[in-house]
């Protein structure tokens, strides 16, 4: 069966036609919550790897990441829920639900991340030595940040109903994007006048190289991901078609590829000098690309039409 034998049907009210129905419940608020969660956790995790000599920078970057997770991410999730004040019930199924596991990780990041930021203030601004307790809290907060980065992707991968999501590359891709966001924001913050000199020229060059490496990795992963979609079931092909040609080509080619990958790879090469303006442009482009790919993943996810079950198809056609 060609994937275009079945129509794409986008309707808020139920339809009685067999077709590719996009998921219509996880829209803007979930996109924003996932985006903020991955970006914030990525920034926080990256801050833990900033050299001790740049402790002030590490503090500021860590605080920024923590604020993004503790504020917007939690707020968007809270507003999205149909019964927001029952959010605590989401903690009751860690055995089977990745959403519950993500809740725990987010709460852990909010708690231990806050403790880390508070304890690290002395290290960054008063020259105190990190304590073993502080190190332990940092490790727990780092693990929590990693889980927050990856759990959205696993939630999507775990869904058997939407072939676009049911792909093991999603968590890897989202994690890589989160790390890229973390490195980009670290570079941007390092150029702020108040933190000038925290990174040496060599360190700045090294982190820029890491960023470029992540851009290349993301480029490759997107190519592989789109290619795997075309070898999957028809609903995955339909999603690929929607992304590349039919419904969202501008978002994909302009937002994800041109702005989100090619521009941020080429800009530093063309401009040559690291400056606040350049890094601000790179950061904005990176955030646009990151948001666009998440937007596409959520919007272009279509359910497999019921007729794709081969034996039922056969039965229907034999009747015809």
């Amino acid at each position: 069966m060609l994937h275009r034998d079945v129509k794409y049907i986008e309707a808020d009210d139920p339809t009685f036609e067999v077709g590719y129905n996009p998921q219509t419940e996880w829209k803007w608020l979930i996109t924003l919550a996932f985006f903020c969660g991955e970006l914030g956790a990525g920034i926080f995790l990256v801050s833990l790897f900033i050299p001790a000599a740049a402790a002030k920078l590490a503090f500021c970057v860590g605080l920024l990441g923590w604020l993004i997770v503790a504020g917007p991410k939690n707020l968007f999730h809270f507003i999205y829920l149909g019964k927001p004040w029952r959010f605590w019930r989401g903690l009751s199924r860690p055995g089977t639900s990745w959403i519950t596991r993500g809740f725990y990780a987010t709460f852990a990041l909010c708690g231990f991340g806050f403790l880390h930021v508070v304890m690290f203030y002395d290290v960054a601004f008063n020259g105190a030595t990190p304590t073993p307790m502080g190190q332990a809290i940092m490790i727990v907060a780092g693990i929590s940040a990693f889980v927050v980065m990856i759990y959205d992707g696993i939630v999507m991968t775990y869904s058997p109903s939407i072939p676009l999501w049911n792909n093991s590359l999603i968590p890897v891709l989202r994690t890589s994007y989160a790390l890229m966001g973390g490195v980009t924001m670290t570079l941007l913050v390092s150029m702020l006048p108040a933190l000038a000199g925290q990174f040496t020229g060599e360190q700045l060059h090294l982190w820029s190289q890491i960023e470029r490496g992540l851009v290349v990795a993301n480029m490759l992963m997107i190519v592989i991901y789109v290619m795997t979609l075309t070898y999957q079931v028809t609903a995955a092909k339909e999603s690929a078609y929607l992304i590349i040609r039919d419904k969202y080509p501008a978002v994909f080619w302009f937002g994800v590829v041109a702005i989100g990958l090619i521009a941020i790879f080429l800009l530093p090469i063309l401009v040559q000098t690291e400056s606040l303006g350049l890094l601000l442009a790179v950061a904005v482009f990176e955030l646009i690309g990151d948001f666009c790919i998440l937007f596409l993943l959520l919007r272009a996810g279509v359910f497999s039409p019921l007729r794709t079950q081969p034996s039922i198809d056969e039965a229907l056609f034999s009747r015809a």
């Binding site: 019930r89 775990y158 229907l316």
Partner: protein, 203 residues
Amino acid sequence: MIWGMVIDLKLCIGCQACSLACKTEYGIPRGMYWTKTLIDEVGVFPNVTRVYLPQLCNHCEEAPCEKTCPTGASYTDEATGVVLVDYTKCMGCRACYVACPYQNRHYVKRGALQGYYPGKGLTPFEAQSYPHFTEGTVTKCVGCIERVMGGLDPACVTNCPTYARKFGDLSDPNSEIRQLIRSRNAVQPMAEKGTEPKVYYIS
């Protein structure tokens, strides 16, 4: 008993009596159907035909909606194997909606229970049925569990004019549905998803 259903695609005429029976039985709010008959056009002109595919919650043995639910609101009734939602626990995250391959989860939006006639209040029928729903939660087919426990067939089965839907006990090897599954090579919808649906199709 274990809830089970066999649907004969050769007998379905697409009259939607099952859809209406279900809506009437439970007073399901506007814009959602717990069961419906999908219409598909197959073939290439001039050899084209319409086929009908009744669809409802499959009350899966390995229900992805239940596994993914973070609150435990989705659960399987152990006595009947029917997958149900506890509206008092659901927080409206809609993870079950995106996890169900059969698209049989429905979110009751805020304002969905305002009635059919805006500003005119609820009709007596709506006033009787809407208290069973909760805005901001997810709802789904309940397998007519109270009818089944009372010895009746589900409403969609009772109202099918062509007897396309057969209901019975999957745990009884001699039940009509088990015999149909054996003799007519019944298939489960999207069996490749590993959900072990309790609804089977024959043709």
